[in-house]
């Protein structure tokens, strides 16, 4: 009966080899786990030492239990006839000991997992199952096991006899024993997030398995993380958007931020490029600050995470965009937000993330004080769960391609446009024979005009490979749980050349509690490594603009084709700009990042807990830009100065300590939660870089020492500190009246003495009106209804460092690209003043108001949340214009300008079909944002006099006003004050319509049919953006292809057209009009789109197969990202702009399973 192991081994000959592999894996896993965790095997030992004489059987059981952790299940009746036991064993196997004990007892025993069930020997009918309810008993003992739908044992499930206080929780292995009054007692099984089950005792067969079903869509039971405290969604007075591990996991992305696109109302993310590692532009509820940072505050497992790119501020980040603005914060980036350099979040492994919470309103963010104005994004990593040690493996492989190419002119169309352009301007058509100086190789006869190449296919038509491997080991007991995970991701690009992004990461989490549950420890850590190589420029632009008759990229012998031809001046290259030339250049960034956090807490008295968090973060980016001479055509590549190796190192490290005291108590119908805490936070940011030039050979270029000249590119060192005291009082009355008060007083070194401290706070209130009897009676179909409101202030400290002190610095540093200017005189290195300083500036203050309505209909099958918010950001820190007579032209000052963001956010979850085999649910989110500059006293005297207009959106820009094409001349015309059709700045500038989102949202549908699950997510954005013309010169420009849209250009007098006439290059009159056009509202296009952002289909292997293979949760899946975009936009993609590499269409397939 106890032959658990032997049984298992007996089955093995069936399919020996596979099973052996699994067994080896399992053993390896356990060994690995033991090695890593250094966990003593003592607690799991099955060795028993007992010395007893005539002892009661149940006392023996107790001793064994305390030594081995094995539980014993029996009824009092069972032991009635038991004999006293005499035994003396030392370090014997449990099995042997039990055999000895039961040797002459009228009893039998079975062992399953860690459960010893004791029964009366029934030799007569060995085949019949045990009747657990002995007749005449007043107490019925129930034993059994609880698992989830996938068969995983569930610990800590509440098992309770209804109407009594008899209750227990399941063990680590999901087992329980419960004594109930009689066989008609109702037993309730409950666990947060799972459907509660009620069963009659007599219906529970002995040792039967209760399967708990996850509660679908029961969002209100979800406990949400509000940073310093957790709250049930139902009782929350704030506005927090949550993205779950499931939603993240089904998207084949390597940057977790990309997994949030479209998923949360009010969170606006623009993925500006499809290059691996590219940064996104992110804001929550619009732009609050006119000239300072609008980045949300990011926290990973309690440790602040910098939203600044780790790319060097001193050297170029190539195709990822130069990270010039980030050195002293995002000051110079203004409200365009981030979006350049390598994404700082790319170092995080999406598979390590359990959930991402987006804190939006005052109630949720005020506790973050001066860091909370732009919202807070909390990233929580996965934690171990109690249960058997389990190995999870997830492998996937896929491809990425550009999903949408532009319609560009082919060679015949191109030549036709060029001919027309020269004819329009009355210029002779270029001809190399008549003019040997002519540089128009595309049309003068040097290039073969019978060639027609689709450069998009040649340059960005490749297939990016996407590989992902994830493994984790987790498990633990009720008191200690652990998780160790590792991941590897590799992505290549669609470009020619050897570029890509490779990531490796380790993640661990350890939770432990004392047996009385008073002391808790949680240690989490993740380490990430990333190796990112991108070209120095995005080939997508070349692909769109290279003339279609350009020569082949390669010579027949495989070398780069420079199209050398003999001009009267000797040998010249007619294809200097061969795009392949730059494939020898690269920007390589190697990033290392460590994030670690330790939480310790102790419950001093019931409800009173003291706690402290200790966090540490260290990130490092080593960047090397290589420019060898082989990128240049042979006639031009003789100068060793052309070879360049730019080298930079950026490091950031910091720590945070947050001691806290919390108190929780129920007083009558009231439920009080009080929290008091403090924060000390420090961040060091160091950057340095140098440029080496003058290499004698490309072969030596990786060693900067081989360069003749090494010049510093910059050096900076920043110390930033923050401290705060924070408090929260949450009070719930009768589960229906909710009140939440939060406050924060903090200080930051980014402000001068006397201006460092700021006070922030918020009040949130809620009323669950469906808990009022009258409402519940009148509206039975309304299963849930809550009204909530919050009001409070937060601050924005994203202003850069050390701005309040007047400083001098050595001249020559901090210059991006090229050698520093002269910086010494008479041998003395000079010191240059940086600023006139205003020691008195302070926070920008953001006042947030929100009202929300949360409704559940038809037993919560339909859940609707609607929020209206109004954020007013005042005390704007702007760069106030000074007259140059002060020596400088600006000083940082607070200004009573007021920026308002209002909006409506709607979130809808519905369970459309809920049947035995088929489920269909839908989630929709919708955001309608509005931005307005309410007031700006003194605007005229500020540096924003010509860029902002009171009453308009910050997204409006002063632009010329386009008035159509003159049907006689075919040229663009503009509204002008002096009617000569040539607009001039500033008098002819008018505020444009806002260039931003009108509304945006997303819709996700989840279908499950038996073992199949399908998720489809659609992103919808209605917006305006820059049109394609800004990225293209006017049609007719030499060696510059155009979208086919230019074929609609004006051709003859009297014709109405949408594109002005062609012109032969910059000397043509069309050029000036073109320049005015792209500075007018004429090139603001509708860039709205509907995108099938994600689709994920997975198949859970049938339970029988899984059991056979000793797997759980095994599934195979196929996932797709950016599958199709519906848009009228002419460029590649509305998000990445007209000629930027669009986010790739990625399709991956994979398997995942746990053992």
């Amino acid at each position: 009966m106890y032959n658990f192991y032997s049984k298992k081994l007996m089955r093995s000959p069936l399919c020996g080899s596979i099973r052996k592999v699994f067994l080896v894996m399992r053993i390896t896993t356990i060994m690995l786990f033991l090695a890593i965790m250094q966990v003593s095997a003592a607690s799991l030992a099955q060795k028993v030492t007992i010395k007893a004489k005539d002892a009661q059987l149940n006392t023996i059981f107790q001793q064994i239990r305390s030594q081995t952790g094995y539980d014993f299940a029996y009824t009092a009746k069972t032991l009635e006839n038991a004999r006293p036991v005499t035994i003396d064993v030392k370090n014997d196997e449990l099995i042997d000991v039990l055999k000895k004990i039961f040797n002459d007892q009228p009893l039998d025993f079975t062992i399953q997992d860690k459960f010893v069930t004791v029964t009366i020997k029934q030799l007569a009918s060995p085949g019949t199952p045990e009747k657990k309810i002995a007749p005449g008993l007043t107490v019925v003992i129930l034993t059994g096991k609880v698992t989830d739908e996938l068969g995983n044992p569930m610990p800590n499930v509440n098992v309770r006899e209804k109407g009594t206080n008899h209750g227990t929780t399941t063990s680590v292995h999901g087992n329980y024993i419960l004594s109930v009054t009689d066989e008609n007692s109702v037993v309730v099984f409950s666990y947060i997030g799972y459907e509660t089950q009620e069963l009659k005792a007599k219906d529970i067969t002995d040792g039967s398995v209760i399967v708990m079903k996850a509660e679908p869509q029961n969002l209100r039971e979800v406990v949400i993380n509000k940073g310093y405290y957790d709250e049930k969604q139902e009782l929350s007075t704030g506005d927090v958007g949550v993205v779950s591990a499931k939603e993240i996991g089904e998207q084949p992305v390597s940057d977790p931020i990309q997994a949030l696109i479209g998923r949360v109302a009010g969170l606006n993310i623009q993925q500006t490029s499809g290059i691996p590692g590219s940064n996104a532009a992110i804001n929550i509820r619009g732009v609050n600050s006119i000239s300072n940072g609008n980045d949300p505050f990011y926290v990973v497992d309690g440790v602040p995470f910098s939203s600044f790119s780790t790319s060097s501020p001193f050297i170029s980040a190539g195709a990822l965009g130069d990270n010039v603005g980030s050195l002293y914060g995002s000051t110079s980036q203004g409200f365009n937000g981030n979006g350049t350099g390598l994404s700082p979040f790319n170092i995080l492994n999406p598979d390590d993330i359990e959930s991402i919470e987006v804190l939006k309103d005052a109630d949720a963010t005020a506790i973050y004080g001066s860091r909370g104005a732009n919202g807070v994004i909390l990233i929580t990593t996965k934690k171990g769960k109690a249960g058997d040690t389990r190995v999870n493996i997830d492998l996937s492989q896929g491809i990425g391609q550009v999903g949408h190419f532009m319609d560009l002119l082919n060679t015949p169309q191109y030549l036709q446009v060029m001919h027309q352009a020269y004819a329009n301007d009355g210029h002779p058509y270029p001809n190399i024979k008549t003019n040997p100086f002519d540089p128009n190789y595309d049309i003068d006869g040097v290039w073969d005009t019978t060639r027609n190449t689709n450069w998009q296919k040649a340059l960005i038509g490749g297939t990016a490979q996407y590989s992902n491997a994830q493994a984790s080991i987790s498990g633990g007991t009720t008191n200690t749980q652990f998780l160790v995970g590792a991941g590897y991701t590799r992505q290549t690009t669609v470009y020619p050349g050897d570029y890509g992004d490779e990531k490796g990461s380790m993640h661990f989490s350890l939770n432990s509690a004392s047996s009385n549950q008073k002391f808790h420890l949680q240690l989490t850590g993740s380490y990430g490594y990333e190796n990112n190589t991108v070209p120095t420029a995005d080939y997508a632009r070349t692909a769109a603009t290279l003339a279609p008759d350009a020569p082949p990229l390669y010579n027949p012998n495989g070398s780069i084709n420079w199209q050398i031809y003999n001009s009267p001046f000797g040998s010249k290259s007619a294809f200097q700009n061969n795009p392949l030339a730059t494939t020898v250049e690269s920007v390589n960034q190697v990033v290392n990042n460590l994030n670690a956090n330790l939480d310790l807490s102790y419950e001093l008295l019931p409800g009173l807990v003291i706690k402290s968090d200790f966090g540490y973060n260290r990130g490092e980016n080593n960047q090397v830009d290589i420019f060898p001479d082989s990128r240049l055509a042979p006639p031009n590549n003789t100068n060793p100065v052309d070879r360049e190796n730019d080298n930079a190192l950026s490091t950031g490290y910091g720590w945070i300590i947050e001691p806290q005291i919390s108190y929780h108590r129920k007083i009558g119908k009231g439920d009080l939660n009080v929290l008091l805490g403090g924060t000390l936070q420090q961040q060091n940011i160091n950057s340095q870089g140098f440029d080496a030039t003058g290499f004698t050979s490309d072969a030596l270029i990786r060693d900067p020492q081989a360069g003749a000249t090494i010049t510093p590119a910059g050096f900076s060192s920043i110390l930033d500190r923050y401290e705060a005291v924070l408090a929260r009082i949450g009070y719930t009355w009768d589960g229906k009246y909710l009140l939440n008060l939060t406050a924060n007083r903090d200080a930051s070194t980014r402000f001068g003495p006397g201006r460092q401290f700021g006070n922030f706070g918020a009040i949130g209130a809620g009323w669950i009106f469906t808990k009022e009897k009258a409402v519940a009676g009148a509206l039975p179909w309304l299963s849930f209804g809550k009204l909530r409101a919050s009001y409070g202030t937060t601050g924005n400290y994203q202003i850069g460092y050390y701005q309040y002190i007047p400083t001098y610095s050595p001249a020559g540093g901090g210059f991006v690209f090229g050698p520093p200017p002269p910086n010494s005189y008479q041998g003395v290195s000079v010191l240059s003043p940086n600023n006139v300083s205003n020691p008195n500036f302070s926070w920008e203050t953001d006042t947030k108001l929100e009202g929300g309505l949360e409704l559940g209909f038809l037993a919560d099958r339909i859940n609707l949340t609607a929020s209206y918010y109004r954020n007013r950001s005042g005390n704007q820190l702007i760069s106030y214009s000074l007259p140059a007579i002060t020596g400088f032209t600006s000083v940082t000052e607070n200004f009573p300008a007021l920026v308002q963001n209002t909006g409506l956010e709607i979130t809808l979850h519905t369970v459309n079909i809920k049947a035995k085999d088929f489920n269909w649910s839908t989630s929709v989110n919708f955001t309608d944002p509005k931005n307005k500059l309410l007031s700006f006293p003194g605007l005229v005297q500020s540096s924003y006099a010509e860029t902002l207009v009171v009453g308009q959106s910050l997204y409006s820009h002063p632009l010329f006003q386009y008035t159509g094409i003159n049907p006689q001349t075919g040229l663009y015309t503009f509204k002008t004050a002096n009617s000569n059709e040539v607009p001039s700045s500033p008098q002819d500038l008018f505020p444009s319509q806002p260039v931003t989102q009108k509304y945006y949202g997303g819709m996700g549908n989840n279908f499950t049919y038996k073992n199949f699950s399908l998720d489809i997510f659609i992103q919808v954005v209605n917006q305006t953006g820059l049109g394609y013309q800004v990225a293209f010169f006017p049609a007719g420009t030499d060696q510059f292809n155009q979208p086919t849209a230019v074929l609609a250009a004006w051709k003859m007098p009297g014709q109405a057209a949408s594109v002005q006439r062609y012109g032969a290059g910059p000397s043509s009159p069309v050029f000036a009009n073109y320049v005015n056009f792209i500075e007018s509202n004429g090139d603001i296009a509708n860039t709205s789109f509907v995108r099938i952002k994600n689709a994920a289909l997975s198949y859970h292997l049938p339970a029988a197969w899984q059991k056979w293979a000793h797997m759980q949760n095994a599934r195979i899946y196929i996932q797709g990202q950016n599958l199709y975009t519906f848009t009228h936009y002419i460029g590649y993609d509305p998000d990445s702009g007209p000629t930027g590499l669009p986010p790739l269409r990625t399709i991956t397939a994979g398997v995942s399973a746990s053992f």
Binding site: V725, P821, V830, A884, I885, T886
Partner: protein
Amino acid sequence: MKTYYSHKTNRYRGLLPFAFCLPAAIGILFTFFAGCKKFVEIPPPTTQLVNTTVFNNDGTATAAMMNIYVGMSSVQGISSESYNMAESMGTYADELTLYDNSTDVYNQLYINALQATSAPGPWVNAYNYIYQANAIISGLQTVGGTSPAIRQQLTGESYFIRAFWHFYLANIYGDVPLVLTPNYTTNATLPRTARVTVLQQVAADLQTANRMLNSNYVDGSDTTATTERVRPNKAAALALLARTYLYLGDYSKNAAYYTRADSAATAVISNSNYSLSALNGVFLENSTEAIWQLQTPQPNAPADTYDGLYFILLGAASAGGSGQNQTTISPQLMAAFEPNDQRNTTWISSFSDGINIYYFPFKYQQNTNAGLEYTMVLRLGEQYLVRAEARAHEGNITGAQQDLNVIRSRAGLAGTTAAAQSALLTAILHERQVELFTEWGARWFDLCRTGNANAVMGAPGNVCKFKGGVWSGTGYQLLFPIPRTDIQADPNLKQNPGY
């Protein structure tokens, strides 16, 4: 009653820990916080120095002073104040012909059609130098720690720099704000000060500088004498003072200033450290004629001087070419040279593309980093002409003729024939044209202060018309417009009429 009490006690027993712990916790937290007030008092960044640190140390204070000279000799590594002034004033007046009309600002200067939006002239840079000088004066005064000799030297140099740039501002823009402190809150609302008052302050600052400065030239230590004439000394202060008095005489119509100009120039001319060089040796490093030069920018200078780099034509003058090949000497200036004037051959060179001959200034003869020339700021030759003009005003005709002839004879010309005061003044004006061309805009200032600008630029000279512009009779073009951004930012600052 018993029940009541016990009930109550029970309730409070639960609250007890809270009642005790909450105030305790608040107390602890706030003590912790107050104790940590120091936590947010951080030192300045290691890559930057706070003002007070800069001025309590000889080395760093000197480094702050040197920044002004580096700035003047190399404006952000692309030009120099000397070249900027020579080029913009030269094209604005009648010295240079502009070929590069691709940039609005250059073209506006050339055709005398300036716009306040383009902020022409040295306004922004000049006030930045003045700020730096004021910051040094005030910093050295308020922060102790520097040695007295060095403090005196640096303060003297700062007064000199403040005077130097106010001098140019007053000549280019007329009435200008007089900035005497580094305090931006005071300076941001300054009104304009009358030109004569500004020049009087310039003279006062130069007298202060003259008192404080060393008579030797000093090296990077601020105290040790050197042969490098690259920092202002007493003679430099006197030379600029002489020029300032001469200009003051013209603008204030107060003849007493000519006497002072005479004596200040005499103090320089009689100083045995200075003597006229041969024409081809004037602009060499530390020439005997040099009173103050600016060192070649270090490191990475593209040439000895930016004047040499940009004025010397290596091809036909044309549009574009990153500052090079964009100007030639104007026909008016070419015509001003008397026959056999050696300056015409030594200080002017030409480039021929086979079709046209392009003449260009060749005072600076190096267009590479040859280590031979420094940028000249003040030189003895000018002092003779200053004294000649002052003497002519004073009625000392013979003295004036003598000084004028010193300059003429070096150029290989016979003595002047002008004998009457007005004829002599005309002769001196002419001599200045051919002696001081393309040096810091001297020609334009001469035309303005002597009242000859309208006649040269407008009828009958018609230089403006020749350049393609329109010369207004109102004379508004005699002053540059104040940059519009400053008019917007300073409510008390009024624009020059006509702009």
